[in-house]
Amino acid sequence: MPRDSRIERARERARHAKTTLGAVALLVFGVAFVGAKVHAPGHTKGRSKPLGAPASFKRSVRENTLRSGQIAPPAQPPVASSSTS
């Protein structure tokens, strides 16, 4: 019996060690995974911006070529000026 008890205690210690090692490995993997997601080149941190102009802007430009805007008599001192550049 004492011998069985020693073996049993050794098995118990081994189980604890395996569980601890597994948990530590999982934790290290998780931290590394999140770190890579945030910092690694090639991973976007925010929403990517399209290379072309937005579709709504393109539509607005196409629908308004050579169409008049609306003007009126001035009501206040000008805050901007239109001139040749």
């Binding site: 008049s68 001192p77 001139s83 550049s85």
Partner: protein, 249 residues
């Protein structure tokens, strides 16, 4: 309108004035256009396209959009506003992102790019305000704007642009002759539903010379013309919109 903060900086070779938007965001947007279309940057896409000997080229979505817009405007203005500056715009083909053109035919998209950049920046205005690049502007909400040779106008919607020779000399090219225009106008200001529409109208009004006021009137576009002798001519559409409405008594 009451504009609380007006910010000024330089971009695209011009003074930029912004109200109602974050200047840094606007500057970043303008730089995006400048990086693709500047003729002063050898590494820009437009410089590389112009320098290429290839007959067919793949271009970026932004380049294709600007060129498609420029070709559409050349057609609408019957070649008065022409991205080739020499009447050869019908020789350019564009299918999605594939550009074909005779090698050596140089493109100048400055005519539309600045106005497109203004319109894109104005579309992102967070509150009433305006974006002005070199005096071409688009508004969100009414903005009072000073005009060449005195006077002012309230831009209620859309944009306002001025073209002419006042500040840069004879840089507007008559596509029919390929030479600098000898217009009877010094400066032409036009209103448009967008800054691009205003800019194209102002350029066409200038390049068409004496026919400019009627050409704009036929399209119900308000135009104000400053002659080389300083005389100011407003077309019927301009006069009709700017005429003060008498108050009821």
């Amino acid at each position: 309108m009451s504009v609380h903060t007006v910010e000024r900086f330089r971009a695209m070779g011009c003074e930029v004035v912004v109200a109602g938007a974050d200047a840094v965001t606007v500057a970043a947007g303008l730089e995006r256009w400048e990086a693709v279309f500047s003729l002063f940057r050898p590494e820009s896409e437009l410089s590389r396209v112009n320098g290429s000997r290839a007959h067919v080229l793949a271009v970026s979505p932004l380049f294709a959009f600007a060129l498609e817009t420029a070709l559409g405007l050349a057609e609408e203005t019957e070649g008065v506003v022409d991205p080739t500056l020499c009447g050869r715009w019908p020789e350019i083909g564009l299918s999605h992102r594939l550009l074909s053109r005779p090698p050596g035919l140089v493109l100048d998209l400055n005519g539309v790019v600045k106005a497109l950049a203004v319109d894109e920046a104005a579309a992102a205005l967070e509150r009433p305000g305006f974006v002005s690049v070199g005096g071409d502007l688009a508004v969100r909400g009414p903005v009072d704007v000073a005009l060449p040779a005195g006077a002012a106008v309230r831009v209620v919607t859309g944009g306002l642009a001025t073209s002419g020779t006042a500040s840069r000399g004879a840089h507007l090219v008559d596509a029919a002759s390929g030479r600098p225009s000898e217009s009877c106008w010094q400066q032409v200001t036009a209103s448009g539903a967008t800054c691009l529409a205003a800019d194209v109208a102002a350029k066409a009004g200038f390049l068409l010379g004496e026919r400019g006021p009627d050409w704009l009137d036929a399209r119900r576009i308000p135009g104000r013309f400053v002659g080389v002798d300083g005389e100011i001519v407003e077309n019927l559409a301009w006069h009709g919109q700017v005429q003060a409405v008498p108050a009821c008594t």
